[in-house]
């Protein structure tokens, strides 16, 4: 034929000597090659055609504009996933490239998946954290102490979120003598960071006008992206610049934001912020009760002491002139006791009952009562109460106050008791 033209069989000599694969063999080898070649890889794409089987395995396609690949995630792997796979969600998936031999389709067997963007945010977070730390924004030495008894608290958060309700209701459970000034801001999205920073600045400007003592920046839980405004540099700088101490309570226990690191105090949640900024009223009340008791005990002891002294020194001097001062004092004391008794439990609550009790017991030891009983108080020339004969000299003029008047006398002789 002398023809150099192609033999229809010439360039494709047919099976002849060469190996003939079976379909399953081919798929097996292709699978081996793909798995070996790619190993474990990351692939970014958008989830579509998601179908979850009754056994919990997820079948979907990962696609971009004009290309796609089948993917499968088995129930065991899917259960450990942080994010929910959804059609339209952009993810980065890690897995192995393999062939589903039964159908000869190659696919990605996904072991884990993350939302796109999260990785980038994490990176930005770490970079900013490192930078601000180096600049000293997180230093313990520059952190301010919170006031023990704030009167006005600036709360920078969304006026409609759960956070503001949690903060205020927790505060109110502990302590009510406080005013909360809400600075409404967005707490997620583009403008949020700027708004929060601006509110921090405003609150500081209004510090004396509103009498602010401390600020809270807060929001409830959400995704890393939701919490992002609290990771922005502008917010960090504004917290650092704040003259008022700042408490940061963002997200849940596990969430840490840049604002947590810069703030003077970091608390895990909005609720914890409300708790942290105010004292516990009942603790103060208990403290006051104890102090009042000590006060009362001491006065009672004083009066008892004098009772004993007076008892010893009691004599039968006559009397004529009232000593205004002591009587006034006693009257004041009586009035005060009555005043307190009048108010009683109504105004002072439980503490009132206890106070009432105390005052009743005190009034039993009231000096007026003692004088009425015939006791008296003797003053030396210096005006000091004489409780020891050693403190007077012979010929010193004394003044003795009785229930209805005073006696003036002169010392002729003293006797000191033994065993004092």
């Amino acid at each position: 034929m002398g023809n150099t033209g192609s033999n229809p069989l010439g360039s494709d000599p047919g099976p002849g000597e060469e190996e003939v694969y079976s379909v399953s063999q081919l798929n097996k080898e292709a699978r081996y090659l793909l798995e070996k070649q790619f190993g474990s890889i990351w692939v970014e794409g958008e989830v579509s055609n998601l179908h979850v089987s009754s056994a919990g395995h997820s079948y979907f396609t990962l696609k971009e504009e004009d290309s796609e690949i089948d993917a499968v995630m088995f129930a065991g792997d899917a259960s450990g996933l942080d994010l929910e796979l959804e059609d339209g969600k952009s993810v980065i998936a890690r897995g192995t490239l393999t062939v589903y031999e039964r159908r000869g389709r190659y696919q990605l067997r996904v072991r884990e998946a993350r939302e796109v963007g999260e990785g980038k945010l994490q990176k930005r977070f770490q970079e900013l954290k490192k930078k601000l730390k180096q600049e000293g924004l997180f230093d313990e030495e520059v952190k301010q102490k919170l006031p023990a008894f704030p009167e006005a608290i600036g709360i920078i958060t969304s006026p409609t979120g759960a956070a503001i309700r949690d903060i205020v209701s927790t505060m109110a459970e502990r302590y009510k003598s406080v005013t909360g000034y809400v600075f409404p801001v967005k707490v997620q999205g583009e403008e949020a960071g700027e708004q929060i920073a601006e509110a921090l600045k405003k609150a500081n400007e209004l510090k004396s006008e509103l009498g602010l003592d401390v600020l809270i920046v807060s929001r409830g839980g959400g995704s890393l992206e939701d919490l992002w405004p609290f990771n922005e540099e502008v917010v960090a700088r504004a917290i650092f610049a704040s003259e008022l101490p700042v408490v940061s309570g963002v997200g849940h226990e596990v969430d840490f934001t840049i604002s947590d690191f810069v703030a003077d105090v970091r608390v895990p949640t909005p609720t914890a912020a409300g708790k942290r900024v105010v004292p516990e009223s009942s603790e103060i009340t208990n403290k006051v009760d104890t102090l009042v008791k000590r006060l009362g005990n001491r006065v009672k002891a004083e009066i008892r002491e004098r009772e004993v002294e007076l008892d010893r020194a009691r004599s039968s001097y006559g009397f004529r002139y009232p000593l205004r001062k002591l009587e006034d004092m006693i009257q004041d004391y009586d009035e005060l006791s009555e005043k307190l008794l009048d108010r009683g439990s109504e105004a002072l609550g439980d503490r009132g009952d206890r106070l009432e009790n105390l005052i009743e017991r005190l009034s039993l030891a009231n000096p007026t009562r003692l004088l009425r009983k015939g006791y008296s108080v003797t003053y030396g020339e210096s005006g000091r109460v004489i409780s020891d004969p050693k403190n007077v000299r012979t010929d010193e003029s004394l003044k003795t106050v009785l229930h209805k008047g005073i006696i003036r006398s002169v010392v002729t002789e003293t006797e000191v008791e033994d065993g004092e």
């Binding site: 809400v182 509103l210 009498g211 006060l295 001491r298 004092m329 004391y333």
Partner: protein
Amino acid sequence: MVSEEEKIDVEENLEKLEGIVEELEGEDLELERSIELFEEGIELAEGIQEGLSAAEVRLKKVIEDSELDLKVEDFDI
């Protein structure tokens, strides 16, 4: 804009009360002085109680009006 009623400084009253109790528990006070201190202490204690007796946390909202001036309004959650 500043709050209407005069505020009771709970912290200051508490410190004073502690001081008074200590003085009273010190040595050699005259009866007159003791009673004076007692009265003063009771008044401070009442003051603290009054300071703590607010019925509810007061809430205000700080906002900008149309002229971008700041104003304070009552706020409810």
